[in-house]
Symmetry: C2
Subunit: 588 residues, 2 copies
């Protein structure tokens, strides 16, 4: 039983309109590209590509993973051709600056398209995503020479990008980094090994542009002594000749999921040093890399969203087709007629829609941060985007794990069988909470840097927007809308109270650690409810229609089945920190 | 980095003492076998076997799964020898009646040992577990001839058992069963195919005794026309000759996890009919099978518990070894020093301990139901065990999925790599909520049959026991114990109120469907808290000791981080049923 991924284009388009408005991007000049009459054909073309080219290769990439071959790493069967078509159709540079040969479309549109790539084929999707991050870093920090040499070729997809941070001893903690760069004229020579490098080597393109963190000889220890280098797989020597650089993939990891994407152990400079060029200032590599990383974090949110949508599609199709048990009339019925199967499907749908709204809003907010004038508005949007980025990365990836698990459950025994795509989605989704900074790192970033550092001002503004949307829900006798309204108003108020108390004791670093997870998930539930409030308001405007009623019912479901989870997070922050604080490592 | 499974024998023993007392089994005559001086050596011997023989084969069974060979199905390398030693040491018949050559030990002890097998090697553990269920069915329903022919050989492990219920069109809904049995003298000939048959074929033993559900020619349709047959792989003909029966494994599934266990598509009677013998009455096969199934459901709970314990061990070891980030003193520190890592570990520990207490208590309650006198006490214990069985199956298996996922998260990127055992535990644990009746089936069984059918009487008795344990917590100024006490007292009261309302409207079948999941999980949290209350009380008696303090801290953690989840379940039952009821399948 094989189901092709079909992007729900109308829903994506709706979500885009809502997100653009929520972010205030609809008022931007030069943002006409995000008008439905323009976006719809783009989304439809992407949906066709996803369904026709990427979706059929998804099981292939899982069953015949990327692997080491005689010369370098080989991608799964069919991927080389699919990638060629992906580039030919201009998808790589969709959001890239026009000076790089890209199409310069708003990030919001790119976000919707990115969701589709992952929904159809997560393993494939991670490759072009690296290009977007790399172009942003080059755009912002690359010298004219590097931009000229590399940007257009990355934007066209002729070359791909790779991001090399992790080392065996340095994962979440980059201060432990050891990779070295020594000067060599205008260039550098790099030596060191990097672990878990996605698409570190492959056969889709001739060249791969690595963005590598390393230390120069005079660098101070710790995080302030890290520089970022561009290290291509092939480089042009003084005579204009293209030569192999001194880098290679020593091995490809065998992973639980995301198998189409080669995760490489890379060795740089094991002969005479890998040629590299500095990006940005020396010792300021972390800031440059964070430009790239922030983009990748939004990417993880969008990819996770794609996996949630995929799980929902598979589970819904199975629940409609599979006859099992009896309905209220005593006759054999489809699974979807059973209340608990509907509960699982509605949980999946409610969380997926909330993730989508949140992730698209983050993307549209980044558009505002780039395009708005005056500068103060850009700065405000930039702060909001900084708040949203860790939230989107962590919440959407946790949601995808839950949604995929429900998808497996609806499939029953068949969900545990490799042939069924849902079992792959379950394995694929599990990487989201781990890579590009674990979700704990995101939670600490959110609470420590994005909330407490400005004394809670940015958070208060965001929650005020949420509470405002709740207050604007039309007065009806619908208990569901009342539950949503009250849940958001009260939940928001209580969250601010807790944040206020944390701000007051912000010097207690331990308190941040014990609260961060619960704080992020609480805010995620609240922000997801915000998205449902916005959708419900739009649906109320078209009442009478069955689809609009379904939106209201699912908003009701979110309010009564999911929003109540907030109180457990509140209780844990309020009452639970002392047991956590007291627990002695040797007694756990 | 390889860590051998090490059963925490002292904790298991403690949990056993607590469970035996909680079930009232310590008052049983002939239950001396469950005294610590007897159980400790049994547990220690089992722990040695688990560590030395089973644990080293766990990754092997995952990497080189059971597969079809030229003749029949081949188990993973090393399994034949391990199984031989398992039998030689007498582990198969540990709890089997002495008349079958078993050792007749209490189920409570068998439960602790079963946990170990799964903790060390889940795939292996599922094989002998089938013997326990089969022996119970034979003991209760088998004719003298069948018992004589098969029971001792199953109890010794010379032959294994298999359970054949599912057909392609009949999974959760057995009324759709089609497999046929036609009379053939004193025996029957069976024809039909069965799906997902664990250990349906293998090379551990020469013979495999299948318990097969089928319909006789005159059987009424639906669930009342199903009979249970014993169908051996090899049978003795009239001349005493052993001949191959007409059954074979057509294929072995490729699964997400549990790969060491061959999951077979079985064909019975594709030549001239598979010889079978009736177990129990004709058309009463479902009742016989449920004896077996109930045992398997407890088994799923125990196996899931073993996986939770395994995940905890792996994550704790990793968190202690891996240096990453800085501690409060600014120096590099182990992961376990980070508050959120401790939060994850304590969540794992708190849930694992609660699962253990609950599962062992169910086992000890079954001992009371078997051994107590007078009959009224047996009956009461039987009812309690019926309430506990679906709870243990569903709650402990959902817990294992959560605990394994946290285990992966603590490992970071390495948790996603096949070589790391935690990634296997994550995949292995996902089958628990599905097989032996999905967790929705368990939830419906719990709420519909075990709670509402007697008007909530049995539930009220159980919750009264829980509330009593909470009320007996010593008065201290510990906020954690107060939180536990209040959480259990209030949570229990509110649960009973909700159950009362559901009883009053019990005719609304749909209401059961919409509430069952939340009801089961609420009761699970409550019953898990009960276990912590019992442990906390015991710890208070030995205060001053660091281990006792750790128990109190973890009880506090459970009360403040996990028990508050109850309120979300309550809200969903109270406010969430109408959106679920209204949701139209075509609009989801």
């Amino acid at each position: 039983m094989s189901h092709v991924y079909e992007a729900p284009v109308a829903s994506l388009d709706d979500a885009l309109v809502q997100a653009v408005e929520a972010a205030g991007a609809h008022r931007l000049e030069g943002y006409e590209a995000a008008q439905p009459e323009f976006t719809r054909p783009v989304l439809e073309a992407a949906a066709r590509f996803a369904a026709q080219v990427l979706s059929p290769l998804n099981r292939v990439g899982d069953a015949q993973p990327a692997c080491r071959a005689e010369r370098g790493v080989r991608s799964p069967p069919g991927f080389v051709d699919a990638y060629r078509r992906f580039c030919a159709d201009g998808w790589v540079g969709l959001g890239a600056p026009q000076e790089f040969g890209g199409q310069g479309l708003p990030l919001a549109i790119e976000a919707a398209v990115t969701e589709m790539w992952a929904g159809a084929n997560f393993g494939f999707a991670t490759c072009p995503e690296l290009a977007s991050g790399a172009l942003e870093a080059l755009h912002r920090y690359g010298s004219a020479q590097l931009r000229e040499g590399y940007a257009a070729r990355i934007a066209s997809g002729e070359w791909t990008a790779a991001m090399a941070l992790t080392e065996p001893q340095a994962g979440s903690d980059l201060s432990l980094l050891r990779c070295r760069a020594t000067p060599d004229g205008a260039a550098w020579r790099l030596t060191g090994r990097k672990l878990y490098i996605s698409w570190g080597d492959h056969d889709l393109t001739d060249n791969i542009v690595h963005f590598v963190l390393a230390r120069t000889p005079d660098a101070p220890p710790g995080l302030n002594g890290i520089s970022l280098f561009l290290v291509p797989k092939r480089w042009q020597d003084a005579g204009g000749e293209w030569v192999d650089n001194d880098l290679q993939a020593l091995s490809v990891e065998h992973k639980m999921g995301l198998r189409a994407s080669p995760t490489c152990l890379m060795a740089y400079g094991e002969r005479d040093g890998a040629r590299g060029w500095l990006i940005g200032e020396r010792n300021a590599g972390l800031a440059c890399m964070f430009t790239l990383m922030n983009r990748m974090r939004l990417g993880v949110g969008l990819h996770s969203l794609g996996l949630s949508e995929r799980a929902l599609q598979l589970a819904r199709a199975h629940a409609r087709e599979r006859i099992q048990g009896r309905g209220p009339d005593g006759m054999p019925c489809a699974l979807i007629q059973h209340a608990d199967v509907r509960r699982m499907l509605l949980t999946m749908k409610a969380l997926t829609h909330a993730s989508r709204g949140l992730a698209y809003t983050a993307a549209a907010t980044l558009d505002v941060a780039r395009l708005a004038s005056p500068a103060a508005e850009r700065a405000r949007a930039g702060q909001r985007a900084e708040l949203l980025t860790p939230l989107v990365k962590a919440w959407c990836s946790d949601v995808a794990v839950e949604v995929a698990s429900l998808g497996v459950q609806i499939h029953g025994g068949s969900g545990y069988i490799d042939d069924m795509e849902i079992s792959q989605v379950y394995r694929d989704a599990r990487i989201g909470p781990i890579f590009e900074g674990t979700n704990y790192i995101q939670a600490q970033d959110l609470l420590g840097r994005k909330v407490l550092r400005d004394g809670g001002v940015g958070l208060r503004e965001f929650v005020t927007v949420i509470r405002h949307a709740a207050a604007e829900l039309p007065a009806t006798d619908s208990q569901g809308l009342q539950a949503l309204r009250n849940g958001l108003l009260e939940g928001g108020e209580r969250l601010l109270a807790v944040a206020g108390a944390l701000c007051a004791g912000a010097q207690e670093r331990e308190r941040i650690g014990t609260s961060a997870h619960h704080f992020l998930n609480w805010l995620g539930l609240l922000a997801g409810g915000w998205q449902w409030a916005l959708s419900a308001r739009r649906a109320c405007a078209t009442s009478g229609d069955a689809a609009a009623q379904a939106v209201l019912d699912t908003a009701d479901f979110y309010a009564t089945h999911l929003l109540p989870r907030m109180s457990a997070h509140e209780a844990a922050i309020r009452d639970g920190w002392s047991s956590l604080h007291r627990a002695r490592p040797e007694q756990i």
